[in-house]
């Protein structure tokens, strides 16, 4: 299956891109995708514990199982206000 991953805020500086598309085996979890992104963009490694993860417009846990066509967002702690 194919999933789009969007990066926000300084994660864009760390990855050098705003989004990427990746192929994953069926049943891949959000946590596994995050690990794959850290392997693909090593500068993300230092942000592991401070990474927020959403699928579509909702936050999800690492054990959330992804579906084909999902749009995943990875970003640092939010700072509105």
């Amino acid at each position: 299956m194919t999933v789009t991953v969007k990066f926000w805020s300084y994660f864009r500086d760390l990855t050098g891109c705003t989004q990427t598309t990746t192929s994953l085996p069926e049943g891949t979890t959000l946590g596994a995708l995050h690990q794959k992104m850290i392997e693909q963009f090593p500068k993300l490694a230092g942000t592991g514990n401070c990474t927020l993860k959403a699928v579509g417009v909702d936050y999800q846990d690492d054990d959330h199982v992804l579906s084909d066509g999902d749009e995943v967002s990875l970003f640092p702690p939010v700072q509105g206000g």
Binding site: V57, S73, F75, V78, G80, G81
Partner: protein, 125 residues
């Protein structure tokens, strides 16, 4: 509960609104860009948002406010893009029967926003 969620790249403007005659409290909050960020002087903050998700997350927070307190109206404006020092980036207004719930709801909204709504700051030197 009346609700308005506005994300805008223009300066924040607000207008008072009519309110029900059984409402006794209006609390407003302006969050204003300060001239320093972590002790470094700045001229502005450039706000970035994941707008679709931000609107959805604000909506979830508004749902929770409506569940918890008997509010008549909650309105929020968050400015995006470059906001100069001394200008507001955030405006919130809560109308409720009594002041305790208006203050509680207004603060809860801002606290939850700062945990969940995907907006980020980029200081401008």
């Amino acid at each position: 509960m009346k609700r308005e969620i506005t994300l805008t790249r223009r300066p924040i403007t607000t207008a008072a609104q009519d309110m029900g005659s059984d409402m006794g409290a209006v609390v407003t909050f302006h969050g204003v860009v300060r001239d320093k960020e972590d002790a470094t002087p700045i001229s502005a903050i450039d706000y970035e948002a994941n707008e679709l998700m931000a609107r959805h997350q604000f909506g979830l927070i508004f749902d929770a406010l409506e569940q918890e307190w008997p509010l008549e109206s909650v309105r929020l404006i968050h400015r995006l893009g470059v906001v100069p020092v001394n200008e507001p980036s955030l405006w919130v207004e809560v109308i409720a029967p009594h002041r305790a719930e208006a203050f509680a709801a207004c603060q809860h909204l801002i606290n939850e926003m700062k945990k969940k709504v995907p907006i980020w700051k980029h200081p401008v030197a």
